[in-house]
């Protein structure tokens, strides 16, 4: 028996090792010769860099890896050549790569142990400031003479100076940035509802543009289900228990699911009157039995199953790509087609807010970026090096790759990826083979190098069916449609918060309020939707508000007041 077992394992192993032979890997791609003579150098910029012993700059970098490692890719190889050209010395970088989720769990331990590498990706901004004051992290403000390109992004960001620097002028990080040259102020989630287009088309219905229409549509669809004209169980479903069902509706009611900047001050969404109005509305939908009773408990796999087998007709909580993935997974003969339409509008509140919309032009992405060890031997070089990643020639290389190989320049000066990438089954994965960061699959250089948003939209945004009142049914991309259909008014103040400068105790108080109170509110808000708590009852509502406030260790109202006092309003 054992012999057979072994033979089986051995055979299986051999089959599997055979599999590795087929697919293309990044190493199969030839690295083209690039002429760097027209590219900038540190010397051109007037930087006086010290002499290095041995002429080779040795760097250790702890970086986060995304879905695919940039190791050995064409762009990564060229990044190193370009860096050497810019700095005028040979560099030798040892990368310690860790998958993003694991990286985050390690990050704080390395900081706390004062054992970070020369250069590191960071994702906990508050912690970095604390360890910066503690002289674990280099204060790059001391080496401002070696910074040139980074300022473009700082200046482009609203109140950028206050974001990049602490009130005392210190800067412990290079902040991740984005270049949104085409000013696409779109989002990638919770900005559109997904509808069963096949059901709507068959029954001469259209997605809703107003909340009243939405209520009516739910009633119509419910009637169709009850009459067995449509084979489904419920009208509305949630995409996973990880998202509160109301995440899809908060923007419509101009409130938010947690602490947010409302345009004039900091506010806690779940205790606002608007939020209560929204809960009343959702309670109405629930009482009418439109909502899948498992909306708060079914996980993502269960929801995918429901959507792809046609158990529900509308999903208000989802990310770009989900609708398409459900259609793809559904059985071919089922005719199931999921598509998207912008959030319905309620006249009381006006244009619905969207979450996570990009800033126009060059801007910063404050939660993450790069830090340097305070004890490095040649801080000048490292600062100059990271700064160079923000230059246009470098971001073009990292995002687009090499002209003629991965992209082409159009007559109007814009760039387009080559057809072999755009027409691939998955343009993102295909472009990631070359190591372009636009793929989002792979982040090249020392993450994070500013992303070029137009490049990103070209390869890593899925085309999905859309509907709008003016255009009817058509194909579009989430980022672009959410920008176009929502317009400037739909940009939520949440996405353009005032700069708030906090010390470490204050930021602890803030994150407490954000996470602990939000978590508690989610559980209680659900009870208002299902009617377990009566949302019309003022006493119940006040008890809820008081309970939410009591969750933090610090005083709730004082914390909000403190945040407002420390905010820099333009």
């Amino acid at each position: 028996m054992k012999k057979r077992l072994f033979a089986g394992i051995l055979a299986g192993t051999m089959v599997m090792s055979g599999m590795s032979a087929f697919a293309t890997t990044p190493q199969d791609i030839e690295v083209p010769e690039v002429d760097f003579s027209t590219w900038a150098t540190a010397a051109d910029n007037g930087f006086e860099l010290p002499e290095i012993e041995g002429g080779v700059l040795k760097i250790e970098a702890n970086i986060a890896d995304f879905n695919q490692s940039s190791d050995g890719t064409m762009v990564q190889t060229l990044w190193e050549q370009a860096m050497e050209h810019y700095l005028g010395v040979d560099i030798e970088v040892t990368f310690n790569r860790t998958a993003w989720a694991d990286y985050r769990s390690n990050e704080l331990i390395l900081l706390a142990a004062d054992d970070i590498a020369d250069i590191n990706t960071y994702s906990y901004k508050e912690a970095v400031n604390e360890y910066g004051e503690d002289e674990v992290v280099l204060n790059i403000a001391d080496y401002q003479d070696y910074i040139k390109y980074y300022w473009d992004y700082v200046d482009g960001h609203p109140n950028g100076e206050a974001v990049a620097k602490n009130p005392d002028g210190s800067m412990y990080y290079f902040i991740d940035a984005i270049n949104n040259a085409d000013d696409i102020m779109g989002a990638q989630s919770f900005t559109a509802f997904a509808y069963r287009f096949d059901v709507l088309k068959n029954n001469d219905l259209t997605p809703a543009t107003t909340l009243d229409e939405f209520t009516q549509l739910c009633a119509d669809l419910k009637a169709l289900i009850d009459a067995d004209a449509v084979d489904a169980d419920y009208v509305l479903m949630n995409s996973t228990k990880d998202y509160a069902f109301y995440r899809g509706f908060v923007g419509i009611f101009h409130t938010w699911d947690t602490l947010y900047w409302n345009g004039t001050e900091w506010a806690f969404g779940p205790i606002e009157d608007n939020f209560r109005e929204m809960l009343k509305y959702l309670n109405g939908l629930y009482e009418a039995e439109y909502i899948d009773p498992e909306f708060g408990t079914a996980d993502g796999n269960a929801a995918n199953e429901k959507a792809s087998t046609g158990k529900a007709l509308i999903c208000p909580t989802l990310w770009s790509g989900s609708a398409q993935s459900w259609t793809t997974a559904a059985a071919e003969d089922s005719g199931i087609e999921w598509g998207l339409a912008y959030l319905p509008k309620d006249d009381t509140y006006g244009t619905p807010w969207k979450w996570g919309s990009k800033l126009p032009g060059k801007s910063l992405n404050p939660q993450m970026g790069i830090i340097i060890d305070a004890d490095v031997e040649y801080p000048e070089y490292l600062v100059a090096m990271i700064d160079y990643q923000y230059s246009d020639e470098m971001t073009t290389l990292i995002n687009w790759g090499v002209e003629g190989v991965t992209y082409e320049t159009n007559e109007d000066g814009t760039l387009t990826f080559v057809d072999s990438i755009l027409n691939a089954d998955s343009p993102a994965t295909e472009s990631a083979l070359y190591g372009t960061a636009a793929s989002c699959v792979c982040r090249t250089g020392i993450p994070f190098v500013p992303q070029n948003f137009s490049a990103l939209v070209q390869v890593s945004a899925t085309t999905e069916p859309w509907w709008s009142a003016d255009d009817g049914y058509y194909d579009g991309k989430y980022w672009i449609e959410s920008d176009r259909l929502g317009g400037v008014d739909s940009v939520s103040p949440f996405d353009r918060p005032a700069v708030t400068n906090l010390d470490s105790d204050q930021s602890t108080a803030k994150s407490n309020l954000t996470s602990v109170c939000e978590g508690y509110a989610r559980g209680e808000a659900l009870k208002f939707i299902t009617g377990e708590l009566d949302v019309e009852d003022d006493a119940a509502w006040e008890a809820y508000v008081a309970a939410v406030k009591s969750q933090t260790d610090e005083d709730f109202d004082e914390t909000i007041a403190m945040l407002n006092e420390n905010s820099v309003v333009e």
């Binding site: 054992k2 394992i9 998958a99 331990i109 989630s189 796999n301 989900s322 793929s439 899925t462």
Partner: protein, 299 residues
């Protein structure tokens, strides 16, 4: 006489009945135990569409090996398997030997330090310095990037020592006394009498040590930077992340791409971790056979 026979028969029939019930119980239990793993295997080998629509239960539907392709395309996977085997064996040896030594001295009834050592051990069961001091220690001992950092810190656990001691206590003390009178030293007694008489103990704790080490990744995440030294779990985590749990956009993008479901990869990884250690057990089972040490044990 007849009556006695009747009683005997009754017992016999009753026994048969209990035997049948037992077999039935274990058949049902085995199905309950095996089903989820079969389901994992089936999902790892099915098409995206069948997985997403929730149709896979016992057997793969629309056979698809993409998950395994991704798994075995990973460059370092075979080396990491080898690394893990070395680490596991090293860990097992250290674990068994250190635990035996400690348990033996703590078993000797009149050993003066017995109580002191017991409490010293017990404290470590509940109190530890936490992650940061542990990290600093490994760094200061210069064990970073060395497999010793995975082997040494956890190789002596209070829990194991106390169980070993309970086992050793089951072996007749007269045997020990007799050996001492014959002039055997303490170490010899442990090696010649206690170890051979505890084969089942070593089989089970050897298995625990190997499986525990096989499944662990956290220490490696902290202490091993060099990919060439990665144990298998680190590589598998990397692959699972590759399949798209770290970034919503790419995750959904890959999903909508059609033929690959993240569960293909995730579950292929479960199979790749579990199978190699699962096959160890049948080889160890003979040590659990009863009555191997007839006569040597008080009972």
């Amino acid at each position: 006489m007849a009556k006695k026979n009747q009683v005997k028969n009754k017992i016999y029939i009753g026994n048969r009945f209990v035997d049948i019930l037992l077999v039935l119980f274990f058949v049902i239990m085995s199905i309950i135990f095996i089903y989820p793993f079969l389901n994992v295997i089936a999902i790892s080998l099915s098409s995206n569409s069948k997985i997403t629509t929730g149709q896979v239960s016992w057997f793969p539907k629309e056979f698809n090996v993409k998950g395994y392709e991704i798994l075995f395309q990973e460059a370092g996977i075979w080396r990491s398997y080898l690394n893990t085997i070395i680490i596991c064996i090293g860990f097992m040896i250290c674990n068994l030997s250190m635990t035996s030594l400690m348990a033996y001295v703590m078993m000797v009834p009149d050993f003066v330090l017995k109580k002191f050592l017991s409490i010293m051990l017990l404290i470590t069961m509940f109190f530890s310095g936490g992650i940061v001091p542990g990290y600093l220690l490994i760094r200061d001992l210069d064990l970073m990037n060395s497999w010793w950092s995975l082997i040494l810190p956890g190789c002596l656990s209070a829990y194991n020592v106390f169980v070993y001691r309970a086992f050793y206590n089951g072996i007749s003390h007269e045997l020990r006394e007799a050996a001492r009178i014959d002039g055997a030293g303490e170490f010899q007694i442990l090696l010649r009498i206690y170890v051979p008489l505890s084969k089942a103990l070593y089989a089970s704790f050897g298995l625990f040590a190997i499986v525990g080490q096989w499944n662990s990744y956290y220490s490696a995440l902290l202490y091993i930077n060099d990919e060439a030294k990665y144990p298998i779990q680190m590589v598998l985590r990397k692959i699972i992340f590759t399949a798209g749990t770290s970034d919503m956009v790419t995750a959904t993008e890959m999903l909508s791409n059609g033929d690959l479901n993240p569960l293909n990869v995730q579950y292929a990884c479960v199979v790749a971790t579990a199978l190699p250690v699962m096959v160890i057990y049948p080889f160890l089972q003979k040590y659990f056979a009863q009555g191997v040490q007839v006569g040597a044990v008080k009972g």
